[in-house]
């Protein structure tokens, strides 16, 4: 609990949303440090949502899964929503087979949809909109 920012995982703030991503499999110590750092940031930056991108994770073991569930709960207690985005198909299959269902964790297909779920919208793009409505 003494080593701040020891994970090396960047945590970015965009408005009232924190964005972070897990790169390779975390060992238990790094996972704990990550939890610690993220909760500190949630409370310090008073954010409303957290997006964790896991599209680069090839493996999620039961410990990381539990860390994610605990993170979701901690964030909820701190007043923020956690969205886990971009889980890969093999990872999802493995988790389900292990009987880990990440109860209480919101998921999104990719970072973009996760941000949309957190209330962020793409800036309106007239050319594309006009193109789409051209048949009318």
């Amino acid at each position: 609990m003494s080593g701040p920012a020891s994970t090396g995982v960047p945590i970015l703030r965009l408005g009232d949303v924190l964005i972070t991503g897990l790169l390779n499999e975390l060992d238990d110590k790094a996972a704990l440090a990550f939890t610690h750092e993220l909760t500190e940031r949630i409370s310090a930056d008073r954010v409303r949502g957290v997006l964790i991108d896991i599209s680069r994770l090839e493996i999620i073991d039961s410990f990381v899964a539990r860390t994610l569930m605990e993170l979701a709960m901690m964030a909820r207690l701190l007043g923020a929503r956690v969205i886990v985005a971009g889980m890969r198909p093999p990872v999802a299959i493995t988790l389900v087979e292990l009987g880990i269902e990440l109860v209480g964790v919101e998921t999104a297909l990719n970072a973009e949809q996760g941000m949309a779920a957190l209330g962020w919208r793409q800036s309106p793009q007239p050319p594309e909109g006009a193109h789409r409505d051209s048949t009318r």
């Binding site: 886990v84 971009g86 198909p89 999802a92 269902e101 297909l109 990719n110 949809q113 957190l118």
Partner: protein
């Protein structure tokens, strides 16, 4: 006996034709060809130094002849009885031949004993091969079924459908799950509809497989709807006490599709959505 190869083969074919009159099947010329090969192999087999009860299994040529015959029958859809009888008919043909060639009862008896042992070995081998041939057919068919029966189709923008036909087992669920999740990732679908109209029965195992699939889809960040639960299946699920309450279900595929379109059409409104800064 060596001089009477032709005759034995002839007789064997005749006996088989008599049997085949009842069951129908292999043509006479094919039978003749089989018989020639097998009897020739038998003769060389007898010439070899192998012990008599192992000739059928250990003599390569004879082994191959018997194996071919049995496999052909198995693939041609003949019954096991017909296949066994075909091989055992050779015994009768041989016995007749021996009977004609000798009058001495002692010699006849020992020859009969020898033929019996030889053909019993061949019969056992034939049955083994027949079963093996059938199992190969079954394996191939189940593989084909697995390939055929798990399509993932795009029903709407961001909506995928999986029409399931037939019984779900672990292997199939695995394939369905893999295909579905891959398609969700590739096409960035947000809703997956699993239609089980074609699933005849749902028991606890099948329900658990469905739950697993739904949960995996949820983990990917998409929603899952199950449609097409028929009344008897609904009754079974309720009676078995399977809890599907966390799963979105709709009566028909069309209901599920309209629900899915509703889910995808909205701009994901959040009550206190602040404009992006």
């Amino acid at each position: 006996m060596r001089g009477r190869v032709e005759e034995i083969a002839d007789r064997w074919v005749r006996l088989q034709v008599q049997q085949a009159a009842l069951s129908g099947g292999t043509s006479e010329s094919e039978l003749r060809e089989e018989a020639d090969t097998l009897v020739a192999a038998l003769v060389t087999g007898l010439d070899s130094a192998l012990p008599i009860d192992r000739v059928a299994t250990s003599h390569a040529e004879l082994n191959r002849a018997v194996t071919d015959l049995s496999l052909n029958r198995a693939r041609g859809g003949e019954s096991p009885t017909a296949t066994a009888m075909a091989v055992l008919a050779l015994k009768e043909a041989l016995l007749e031949a021996v009977q004609e060639s000798t009058q001495d009862s002692g010699e006849l008896f020992s020859a009969a004993l020898l033929i019996n042992r030889l053909l019993d070995g061949a019969g056992a081998l034939s049955f083994d091969t027949y079963v093996e041939g059938r199992e190969e057919i079954i394996r191939r068919q189940s593989r084909q079924l697995l390939e055929l029966s798990t399509p993932v189709v795009r029903l709407w923008r961001q909506v995928l459908g999986v029409p399931l036909i037939g019984t779900l087992d672990t292997a199939r669920t695995q394939v369905v799950m893999e295909n579905l999740l891959q398609a969700i990732q590739d096409q960035e679908a947000t809703v997956a509809i699993i239609d089980i109209t074609g699933v005849p029965t749902v028991d606890t195992a099948v329900a658990q497989h469905l739950m697993q699939t739904v949960n995996a889809v949820r983990l990917m960040g998409a929603d899952c709807i199950i449609s097409g639960i028929r009344p008897p299946i609904a009754q079974t699920i309720a009676q078995l006490g399977i809890d599907l309450s966390t799963i979105m279900t709709r009566a028909t595929l069309s209901d599920a599709l309209s629900e899915a379109i509703k889910l995808t059409a909205g701009p994901l409104p959040t009550p206190d959505a602040p404009a992006s800064r």
